[in-house]
């Protein structure tokens, strides 16, 4: 894609609308509270996600500490359940999703040549309600009776009949998270639809923009269903309805259907933007154009559509009729086809490329290998008869941590290393970054790979104790967990060091980088593309 930036014309001509705060933004906290700038909001989302990643991570450390040895050591089972629940909720809704939204805010306007997001005031609001949602969720842990302890999937009747009174707070915090996500998604769609620079046709958009565009549609279609199902939990618990209560004519299995109708597209919400990131990084460091651009777009769209047709593969053991299990089994396996197209395209992009292995590339490569492992264990889980053995074991835990940690989280880390020089104007410390990568890579596999084995051997998930034969593996897994947690401190060190200074980055930053975001100076000025670039 070749780009011509038109020289800014006389400055006053451009000032026909609301840019009166140009270059003199408010100082201090007010800048961040009132900002409608996509870069400020993107930064806040990313920092928020990082903080949440460490809070959720601390809970994972509590879980691994308790599981270090068989028997009960450090925490009560009820508290252990709260840790597994809130760890999941925070990592999904507080870390991964806001991190992707932050990247979308920062990069989408710059990638399509727009001056800002289409709805900047709503953008401010969609970020600032988020900290309150998580404050409510975290404070519920200190209520009498404890916080939510029914798993992040909050199955009825665990969340209705048997839950503590903090459930109301859980429901409201999920409502706020949902509203935030929906507003963010509407903003992304409107921005991409209406604000592309002249010449930026649909099939010229970078894949990160494409994948986010499709993700945003998934968000507005399933987050309202999540809002609906938590509302039903709320009214079942407090207002005498019986959506999920058999005594009143309801059905607890119905909960699982509605939840997973949201839940399965949700897992693609957490991986499609990752595909976009990897599709940006691999061509840069292979110094070749992305192989099969159009097939990437179609594959992403097919994954999104298929994601609505596979929800019941989470429910094979509920006693579904055979024809239903067969349908969901085959539909699930079908998703492997477009996903395979993507992995093939990434590998084909690298084929005979002039590759270098800077930190973003290392994380992107690790993503391809490890995400594929997660995809394969997903295929194993999709096989109905096998799923009866794997269901609710550590095999499932291993599977979704491979796709979410070495998939989604690794892609976010790769994206941060990739675009950090553009954000700060400084190169990060390459050798520290390599340390971060190698420590993370080794520890994450020590942490999650043995979970496959204990899972296949029958160790159930979400239980604070286990049979003695799993002791060695669990000690091993816990050590991997602690090392992975410590490794992320290197990441914080790299980030702070880079924000404070370092070797000045060039505008293009990476030798092989292509796209509009590399045409603007490093660090990216507060306002970019006030005059739209012309894309030939």
């Amino acid at each position: 894609m070749s780009v011509v930036i038109t020289e800014p014309r006389d400055h006053d001509d451009q000032h026909d609308h609301d840019h009166e705060h140009h270059d003199h933004k408010p100082r201090g906290i007010k800048r961040w509270l009132y900002t409608t700038n996509h870069k400020d909001i993107g930064t806040m989302y990313l920092i928020f996600a990082l903080v949440m990643f460490f809070i959720g991570g601390a809970m994972a450390m509590v879980i691994r500490l308790e599981l270090f040895q068989p028997g009960m050591q450090f925490v009560e089972p009820h508290f252990f359940n709260q840790m597994t629940t809130v760890h999941g909720l925070i990592m999904v809704f507080g870390a991964v999703m806001p991190a992707f939204t932050g990247l979308a805010n920062w990069m989408i306007p710059m990638m399509i040549g727009a001056p800002d997001m289409a709805l900047p005031r709503m953008n401010n609001w969609s970020f600032w309600i988020l900290p309150f949602a998580f404050l409510i969720l975290l404070l519920s842990l200190f209520m009498p009776g404890g916080g939510p302890s029914f798993g992040w999937t909050f199955y009825a009747p665990l969340s209705t009949t048997y839950s503590s009174d903090s459930t109301a707070l859980f429901v409201f915090s999920v409502h706020i998270m949902g509203i935030s996500s929906i507003m963010g998604a509407i903003n992304v769609i409107v921005t991409i639809w209406n604000m592309r620079a002249p010449g930026m046709t649909w099939m010229k958009m970078p894949l990160f923009v494409w994948t986010w565009f499709i993700t945003a549609f998934l968000l507005i279609m399933v987050m309202p269903v999540l809002a609906g199902v938590v509302t039903m939990v709320l009214t079942d618990k407090y207002f005498g309805t019986s959506f999920f209560d058999a005594a009143g004519g309801g059905d607890p299995v119905l909960f699982q259907h509605i939840f997973w109708f949201f839940g399965h597209p949700e897992v693609y919400i957490m991986i499609l933007p990752a595909f976009g990131i990897v599709s940006a990084i691999i061509p840069t460091f292979a110094r070749k154009r992305l192989f099969g651009y159009a097939s990437m777009v179609y594959a992403t769209a097919s994954i999104a559509i298929l994601s609505f047709l596979v929800w019941a593969h989470h429910m094979f053991t509920t006693g579904m009729p055979v024809f239903a299990t067969l349908f969901f089994m085959y539909a699930t396996m079908l998703i492997a086809v477009p996903t395979g197209v993507k992995v093939f395209n990434w590998v084909a992009t690298m084929w005979r490329g002039a590759m270098t292995f800077e930190v973003p590339m290392m994380f992107a490569l690790a993503f391809i290998v490890l995400f594929t492992i997660g995809g394969f264990s997903g295929l194993m889980l999709a096989i109905t008869p096998a799923d009866f053995q794997y269901h609710d074991t550590y095999f499932v835990v291993a599977h979704f941590h491979y796709v979410l940690v070495t998939g989604a989280v690794f892609s976010i880390v790769a994206a941060v290393y990739y675009w950090l020089p553009k954000w700060t104007g400084n190169m990060y410390d390459e050798s520290l970054g390599q340390w971060h990568f190698w420590c993370s890579l080794i520890s994450v596999n020590l942490l999650f790979f043995p979970m496959h084995f204990v899972g296949l051997a029958g160790m159930p998930r979400r239980i604070p104790d286990y049979a003695l034969q799993f002791a060695d593996f669990n000690a091993f897994i816990s050590i991997g967990g602690f090392l992975f947690g410590l490794s992320q401190l290197i990441f914080v060190w790299v980030l702070i060091k880079c924000a404070r200074g370092g070797v000045k980055a060039t505008d293009q930053v990476w030798e092989g980088a292509e796209g509009l975001e590399w045409e603007v100076p490093s660090p990216a000025p507060y306002h970019t593309f006030e005059t739209p670039p012309v894309i030939k």
């Binding site: 709805l119 209406n194 279609m221 309202p224 269903v225 999540l226 199902v229 005594a247």
Partner: protein, 185 residues
């Protein structure tokens, strides 16, 4: 940005529609289970005893199970645990209920048929599960069930198990009663 408004309107409409769809899944689920019979749910209304032909060439074993929910103090059991019927024959069968506590309790029985697909062919002409049942302190009663098996029952079904779970719905029942004057009590 006037050009954004129509698009925003459409996206908000999708959001609201999907919120509605989440709730629409509740009746859709029931309708789907009714049509396919995959949830083992029998019809919640009485079937008519049409003059079905009695198929004396087949014998179907009906097993009766009863289980009070853990919060339900009634004693609750079927009079017989098993009977053999011909498809099309109308049978009456009683369940025994006893309230051993010192207070009035209202119960609601929820049926479930196994195997699930057989639920479509198990017809109840009358059932105590159609309404809530009241039982005063220390009393007992017989609760009747009148049923027949549809002669169209596919050949691979030989046994049908009917289970009732009994729930204490006194609180909900109380809430529905008009407030009473308790003067003089």
């Amino acid at each position: 940005m006037a050009q954004n408004k129509p698009l925003i309107g459409k996206l908000v409409l999708v959001t609201v529609a999907m919120f509605g769809f989440g709730f629409a899944l509740v009746p859709l689920y029931d309708v789907f289970c009714d049509i396919t019979g995959i949830n083992g749910k029998t019809a919640a209304v009485a079937a008519t005893a049409d003059n079905a032909v009695i198929d004396t060439s087949r014998q179907i074993t009906i097993e009766f199970l009863a289980r009070p929910n853990k919060d339900m103090p009634w004693v609750f059991k079927p009079e017989v645990f098993q009977m053999t019927v011909h498809p099309g024959e109308i049978h009456i069968m009683n369940y025994l209920a006893e309230n051993p506590t010192g207070r009035m309790i209202v119960g609601q029985a929820v049926p479930s048929v196994s195997p699930g697909q057989a639920a479509l062919y198990f017809h109840k002409i009358e059932c105590f599960c159609f309404t809530q049942q009241q039982l005063a302190a220390g009393k007992n009663m017989l609760m009747p069930l009148q049923f027949y098996v549809d002669p169209a029952l596919p050949a691979h079904f030989n046994t049908i198990t009917l289970n009732y779970t009994l729930y204490d719905v006194t609180q909900a029942w109380d809430a529905q009663q008009p407030p009473q004057d308790n003067i003089g009590e």
